[in-house]
Amino acid sequence: MPGVTEAGVINGVVIDDGFAEAFPMAGTALQITAVNEKWALEAARAMTGFATSVIACGCEGGIDRMLSPEETRDGRPGVRVLFFGFDAGGLEKQVTTRLGQCVLTSPTSACYADLGGEKQIDLGSAIRYFADGWQISKKFEGRHFWRMPVMEGEFLCEAKTGITTDGVGGGNLLLMARSTAQALAASEAAIAAMRKVPDVIMPFPGGIVRSGSKVGGKYKGMMASTNDAYCPTLKGVTASQLGPEIGSVLEIVIDGLTAGAVADAMRVGIKAVTDLGPAEGALRIGAGNYGGNLGPHHFHLKDLLP
């Protein structure tokens, strides 16, 4: 493995002396509630669908956690979802489009802000005109809501939500194993642990990426292409980062409302993978970066060892 040094070996799992390079993003958090958990999840899943990569999807989004009725604004079961965009404008466009198409349309749903802050983007204020003049504004106790008559009854939505510009996108772990089954087992163990960390999402399917990318490609106009250095079938024909024992690599990408949350998620992810061990899971843990010159956030694996 040319150019790869070890930060440590824990329970037989090698941890590279590398770092994940991440970028600032605008982020927000929403509460989606419904009559029961099933319908809250339906709305949340629809809203966070096709939100894996900001480059192609316009934003990155996912479910942070389930909310008990005691935690939601209307005392019903809910889901906390997070969204991240390049900037506030792009984030607002994606969030409001998804709100209108996926939450407004979902039976019994309601949507509320779940992040404070002076900087805000529109929620209900952006989609209220769907009510065609019958929308009702209610302001009380320092909060502003829009009520929109719909065929089912009434859709209630907070007017705005707070955003943070201290969000971080692109924290990551590369889990390298003998086989796809072992790489998947390691990734699933990591995701199960990382989902308990608040204020982060892993936006790819099931939290896991099988097709990590590098910047650019040989074809004109490609913003990203396959990360050939980590493709096991290209060992020997490219500048591979993989040794002969590695047969499959999966990646976990992490977005968080703060850099600390991303670091915490990476830390518990590494621990879960090392706890699983190399026999059932990964032989090696690495992280993706661009040489350190593009993203201001560097999450060094040696600082995140369990």
Partner: protein, 269 residues
């Protein structure tokens, strides 16, 4: 005790204009200077020292130890701070209040909270007519903030109200929410007359029902909507406090269709 206290030493022989006794205007004044502030409304030339014994040196928290229905314009246009009246207050209590908190343990006269823009006005007893309403010729009444009345409200409470919340624990007089533009009024007991006449938008939650309704209100039937639950919860945890509805479905009337017709009245099922 911190703050500044105005101890009533005698019942005034005339109505008093106490609009000068707000934190911003008292800041930096000595006790002697405060005692010389004119508060009379006749040719007698009544000053603060004639009616009150002033003590304390922090005008951001004012206490009137002893009230009177002749104490008019308390807290007028206050932009911050706190005023407590131990007893009754006169007309125009907290008119044009922008921020801060005014608490009256007794009752208040006409036009309490008139054209208020923000802050909290709490009246332990009854409120006079035109609670939160405009003065003659003004186009808007309450524009923001919260008014809580422990007793009953007089006629035309919330007249031309534009925004904010009024919560009356007791009964409401005739003409509640007349010409209402928007906002929310909660009444614990029965509203007299025909509430909501000529209201364009806004919400009346009449937990004790009403004497009757104008024929220009239309029955929308039972409404099981979240806003009632969210409101009740937010009020209970906020400035308003516990309210006599809990988010259970209520009957909804829409109106007043004599005007824009986008207002609503909620009644117990």
């Amino acid at each position: 005790m911190t703050g500044m206290t105005f101890l009533k030493t005698q019942e005034p022989e005339e109505r008093l204009d106490l609009s000068a006794l707000v934190p911003a205007r008292l800041k930096g004044l000595s006790s002697a200077e405060i005692a010389r502030i004119a508060i009379g409304t006749s040719r007698r030339g009544v000053v603060v020292g004639d009616v009150f014994a002033v003590s304390g040196d922090d005008p951001s928290v004012l206490r009137f130890a002893g009230g009177s229905p002749r104490f008019d314009r308390i807290g007028e246009a206050m932009a911050g701070g706190e005023i407590t009246v131990e007893g009754d207050a006169g007309a125009r209590l907290g008119r044009m209040l922008k921020a801060g908190r005014i608490t009256v343990t007794g009752s208040a006269g006409m036009h309490a909270g008139s054209a208020m823009e923000g802050g909290v006005l709490r009246i332990g007893g009854d409120a006079g007519d035109f609670l939160g309403g405009p003065l003659a010729g003004e186009t808007m009444g309450l524009k923001g903030g919260t008014i809580v009345v422990g007793g009953r409200a007089g006629e035309r409470a919330g007249d031309r109200m534009r925004r904010g919340v009024i919560c009356v624990a007791g009964e409401a007089g005739d003409g509640l929410g007349s010409r209402m533009i928007a906002g929310t009024i909660v009444v614990g007991r029965r509203a007299a007359g025909t509430p909501g006449r000529m209201m364009k938008r806004g919400t009346l939650i009449l937990c004790g029902g009403a004497e009757r309704f104008a024929p220009t209100f239309v029955d929308n039937g039972p409404a099981d909507i979240l806003i009632l639950k969210v409101m009740a919860s937010a009020f209970a945890q906020g400035e308003v406090g516990e309210v006599p509805f809990d988010g259970a479905p209520m009957r909804r009337l829409g109106g007043d269709t004599a005007v824009l017709g986008l207002g609503e009245i909620f009644l117990p099922l």
